[in-house]
């Protein structure tokens, strides 16, 4: 069908708006679950390895190995255990990739809080929990959120690969509608929508960061 077809067929895009919206939504859901579960796992683990430094090596080591295994191979290694269909296999894979990013930034964020400030908080009578929630986490927030931003953008890029194991979101548009039929329009539309999603997600997280760190703006204003 490509021989006579123009490079970009807008009529195809207009005819398939419903399908594109549905695949985009699928992409968003796959990403949200992966980053959500990733944060849910990485947050307590970060607090743990921040406190028990001996565990940093082993925990980051395991996360590093998971991060190093190429996504398609990781999905394929999971299929005999978690099955070829449904969300479980792609989500376990996607979550694995967020862990190294979230753990490294989480640790760097908490380690970056000045010891003087922590001592001052303790001196003011803060309990360990109060100190964590009211002093350490807010101060570490920019680095923590930077981790979530990178994990989110990386996941949006990786979701496409799950099309090869029956999921895929916009990856389905790129691979099944596009590459398998040598149909340029579908590939381009899938790539552009995927990038647009990543940019929107990243901007939203920047706004979230400003909302939770109002003092950063105040300070910038004073400077």
């Amino acid at each position: 069908m490509t021989d006579e077809a123009p490079f970009l067929r807008l009529d195809w895009v207009l005819d398939n708006l419903d399908m594109l919206a549905q695949r985009t939504w699928e992409h968003v859901v796959l990403t949200l679950i992966a980053v959500g579960v990733g944060v849910f796992i990485a947050f307590p683990l970060t607090l743990l390895i921040h406190r028990r430094r001996r565990l940093i090596g082993p925990v980051l080591g395991v996360a590093g190995v998971l991060y190093t295994i190429p996504s398609l191979a990781l999905f394929a290694l999971l299929i005999p255990i978690t099955g070829a269909f449904g969300l479980l296999t792609p989500e376990i894979g996607l979550v694995s990739y967020t862990l190294l990013i979230l753990l490294r930034n989480g640790l760097a964020g908490l380690d970056g809080v000045e010891p003087d400030i922590i001592e001052a908080a303790s001196g003011l009578g803060h309990t360990r929990m109060q100190r964590l929630w009211q002093v350490e986490l807010p101060l570490a927030a920019p680095v923590l959120i930077a981790g979530i931003r990178i994990a989110t953008v990386t996941t949006i890029g990786l979701v496409a690969v799950t099309a090869l194991i029956g999921q895929g979101g916009l990856g389905f548009v790129i691979i099944v509608e596009g590459i398998r039929r040598s149909f340029t329009t579908a590939i381009l539309v899938g790539v552009v929508l995927s990038i647009a999603l990543a940019v929107m997600a990243d901007r939203s997280l920047v706004l979230a960061e400003r909302a939770v760190t109002p003092w950063a703006r105040a300070r910038a204003g004073m400077g």
């Binding site: 953008v153 496409a160 040598s182 790539v191």
Partner: protein, 243 residues
Amino acid sequence: MEFLGEVAAWLTDPANWSGRDAIPVRVTEHVALSAVSLSAGLAIALPVGLAIGHTGRWAGAVVAISNVGRAVPSVGVLGIAFVLTLPLVAATGLRGIGVPAALIALTLLAIPPIVLNAHVGIRNVDPELVEAARGMGMTERQVLRRVELPIALPVVMAGVRTAALQVIATATLGAVISAGGLGQYIVVGFALQDIPRMFSGALLVAALALLSDGLFALAQRASVSSGLRAAGMAETPAASFGV
């Protein structure tokens, strides 16, 4: 356990060690695709990254591009390269119809991490050292080659390591455009629901990625200049992912 037996049987089956689809052939294809693309990417990205780091020009654009680059689905880059090269390649009637496309796509994907790290590595060199070198009468080229580059080398190597990982992972996806490589076992195995084939392919890809990453980690460690190591000035590479 029965399943692992099937995997072992597949990996040792003589039928999988001969012919066009043999394991050594697929490993060679995968390594060749990756090595050629990484070298090409390095040849393009390293001079650009060093120049940007040294002059500070275009730095904002580099950071912006590499951030967006993270969001580009690599299979989409493969797909676009595939449809663009298809008419040309089909006319030559060569086997391995996706190979040129894969080489182009993998080279493009190798470039951003190398440019970014070369730029960041050079930027982070203590400006006083650079001033001192200039004061000693070094030309700009000498400053870059004899002062900035040796100090920045571990950071530059970290970029090459990231690029290598990205290239090996995306070469696996090359199977989608018939570019060969170990991904062929995974994609075909999944399509035929030949799970031992798929799983064995995945094991081989994982082993290749971990092995290559380990080698680059050693190279990164070895790249710390001996003078810096003796002075205890060796910088540990960035511990967190920056935006």
